[in-house]
């Protein structure tokens, strides 16, 4: 046995706000994840009546209680919610709060309060990690100087300490639109944040699109890797188009000047740039203990992506972890 647990992110089932709302859709997706070989699911924070899995209030409204949701998961063969992805820039209809920014000191209290809300629920759902969007898009906020990095570090340290009180770790998710991809920026941020309170969520595809090698990132930050997301990258942002204003739409969605139809795919996809066996070996080498969550956001065919991810896990990755266990036992 290794200390790695395998999960799957449900975000690919919900391309827009009014999809994936009905109970039977959730049931079929959860059974798909379960039968493909995964034991946990990652949720994405959402708001409003059409986000039944988006936040604690909606879970309670739809399932009676968090316990009721846990029973629903269990009935579909899912042991736990591994993690919740939270982007503070999303406004909340439940609290009628505007988008928050971790760069704005006045927003920190609101972010901490919201993070605690998720962490408290996660603890009841068997989860252990709140995955947070570490920084807004580079094109929207400009370069992150030392002062900005310190504001980020202060915000996430406060969040991390608050979620730890619920037994939930906070892990920073670096996406390819973020200035944290610039040389030294992530090192500096992690150095400024409290190492007991703030860790790193390694997203293999986001790092690869950003031109970073996930294996190198894992080795470099070995003590801080608290969460991992496996998804493949089909292209890299080699022209630094992430610096454009509103890159979320013009680059991430539209594909930039090359009109990349899809940056991301299920792990192991044809033409994928990530070497998942190498990433898995790197995680084993650093003694990683925690969730590895497969993702395929932007997948037009969620069940197919889940099955192809399951194929990679069963055929290629479990043998890697089994070999490591065997070697350790010798």
């Amino acid at each position: 046995m290794t200390d790695i647990r395998w999960g799957y992110a449900l975000n690919q089932w919900k391309p827009q706000f009014d999809d994936f709302v009905r109970r039977e859709q959730h049931e079929r997706a959860l059974k798909t994840v379960s039968i493909a070989g995964f034991e946990g699911v990652e949720l994405t924070a959402g708001t409003g009546r059409w986000e039944p899995l988006g936040n604690p209030q909606q879970l309670i409204a739809n399932f009676g209680s968090l316990t009721g949701f846990r029973e629903f998961l269990s009935g579909c063969g899912i042991a736990a919610v591994s993690s919740w992805f939270y982007d503070p820039q999303q406004r909340s209809m439940e609290h009628l709060t505007p988008p928050y920014s971790p760069l704005v000191a006045a927003d920190v209290t609101g972010i901490v309060t919201r993070a605690e809300w998720f962490a408290g629920a996660l603890a009841q759902l068997g989860g252990s990690v709140l995955v947070v969007r570490a920084a807004p898009s580079a094109g929207d906020v400009g370069p992150l100087d030392d002062a900005a990095l310190r504001r980020l570090a202060d915000c996430w340290t406060a969040v991390g300490r608050a979620t730890l009180a619920h037994g939930v770790r906070t892990a920073l998710h670096v996406d390819f639109l973020s200035s944290l991809r610039r040389p030294g920026a992530l090192d500096r941020l992690l150095g400024l944040a409290d190492p007991a309170a703030v860790g790193l969520a390694v997203d293999t595809a986001e790092l690869t699109v950003a031109g970073l090698d996930p294996v190198e990132v894992i080795r470099r930050h070995r003590g801080r890797v608290w969460h991992v997301q496996y998804k493949d990258a089909l292209a890299a942002d080699t022209d630094e188009e992430y610096l454009q204003p509103h890159a979320e739409y013009s680059v991430r969605q539209r594909g930039g000047s090359r009109e990349i139809p899809r940056w991301f795919a299920e792990p192991g996809a044809h033409g994928g740039l990530v070497d998942f066996a190498a990433v898995t070996r790197a995680l084993l080498d650093i003694g990683y203990a925690g969730w590895v969550v497969f993702e395929s956001d932007q997948s037009p065919h969620p069940a197919t992506s889940a099955l192809l991810g399951g194929y990679l896990l069963q055929r290629d990755l479990r043998p890697v972890t089994a070999a490591a266990v065997e070697a350790a036992a010798r």
């Binding site: 039977e24 579909c76 065919h301 069940a303 197919t304 889940a306 099955l307 192809l308």
Partner: protein
């Protein structure tokens, strides 16, 4: 121990740049399809006779395709489905003059899988009901004669001819089924139990299995939400996809409103000592925006979480009775 001999009947439709297509669209799609079935743990693969040339084209030969299956955890190709669902001047099982041509055509399919260890040569024993009616004893005997000939031929090539009855076929009621089996030689003609087709036709598949256990060589585990109570089976030109009041007859196991009692059937299978292949099928899963991948996941989840329990119960009862 979990039932390992689960096979999958090849009905998928997959999205391609050219719209919805079967996975045989090209080799890359076919490989992805097989990998998905592999991830679900299927060990057998059933396909239609008309896909065999495409498989040869993509993999070099049917044998090479079987090797690809085996590289992905499958045991083998388990069944080939052949059919003449629409009567023509040359193919009508109830018309004796067409039999030589049908037998020759079956022989061509058998030759395409020569050298493999396919177990079942699955056939639709009749055409559409409306093309045969009035269905008489004599016509059923003529159809039985054809499949006796085909069955003897396929057995010489290592495959059992096994009859898969459609709700819209000319042999559909319990009386017609019994008569057909009386007219056919049990050495040459076997029974293939499609749970949904019989249920739609108002026939209990569980009782069919009980009564024809010795001749049963396989199953299509699929569900339905509708019994045909308004003679849709007589609808020309095709009741399966063109019935005016029912747009979708077939569903994967594990959906709300399913009429087939699969746990009871599973217990009966275990109790009977049947040890052959069990096949998952859910044709037309794409109707209403469905996905074959998801439908197959739901069906396999049902197998591993519901039918496995029924199997264990039956095995425990058998053990207690020893």
């Amino acid at each position: 121990m979990a039932w390992t001999k689960w096979s999958y009947m090849d009905h998928w439709v997959t999205e391609t740049p050219q719209g919805p297509q079967p996975p045989s669209f090209n080799r890359a799609y076919m490989d992805r399809y097989i990998k998905q079935l592999s991830a679900l743990g299927f060990k057998g693969f059933d396909t239609f006779f008309f896909y065999l040339p495409m498989i040869e084209g993509m993999y070099g030969s049917v044998k090479a395709f079987e090797h690809f299956l085996q590289d992905n955890g499958f045991e083998k190709i388990t069944g080939i489905f052949s059919a003449y669902p629409y009567a023509t001047k040359y193919t009508a099982p109830h018309v004796p003059e067409t039999h030589d041509r049908i037998v020759a055509d079956c022989m061509a399919t058998v030759r395409a899988v020569e050298g493999l260890s396919v177990e079942n040569f699955i056939v639709m024993p009749s055409t559409t009901y409306f093309q045969v009616e009035p269905v008489t004893d004599e016509k059923i005997k003529i159809m039985a004669d054809l499949w006796n000939r085909v069955g003897q031929m396929t057995l010489e090539h290592g495959m059992r001819t096994t009859c898969h009855f459609e709700f819209w076929g000319a042999i559909r009621t319990r009386e017609q089924l019994d008569l057909f089996f009386r007219y056919t030689d049990p050495r040459y003609v076997y029974f293939f139990c499609d749970t949904a087709q019989h249920t739609i036709a108002g026939v209990d598949p569980l009782q069919m299995f009980r009564d024809y256990r010795d001749r049963c060589t396989g199953f299509h585990f699929k569900d339905t939400h509708t019994v045909d109570e308004h003679e849709a089976y007589r609808t020309p030109p095709d009741p399966e996809l063109m019935a005016p009041n029912v747009t979708r007859w077939f569903y994967e196991m594990g959906t709300e409103g399913g009429l087939v009692d699969f746990p009871a059937l599973m217990r009966e299978i275990v109790t009977s000592g049947y040890d052959g292949w069990l096949t998952v099928e859910h044709d037309k899963a794409e109707l209403g925006g469905g996905s074959y991948a998801e439908a197959t996941c739901v069906a396999k989840w049902y197998i591993d979480n519901v039918l496995a329990e029924a199997q264990a119960e039956a095995e425990a009862q058998l053990e207690a009775g020893r």
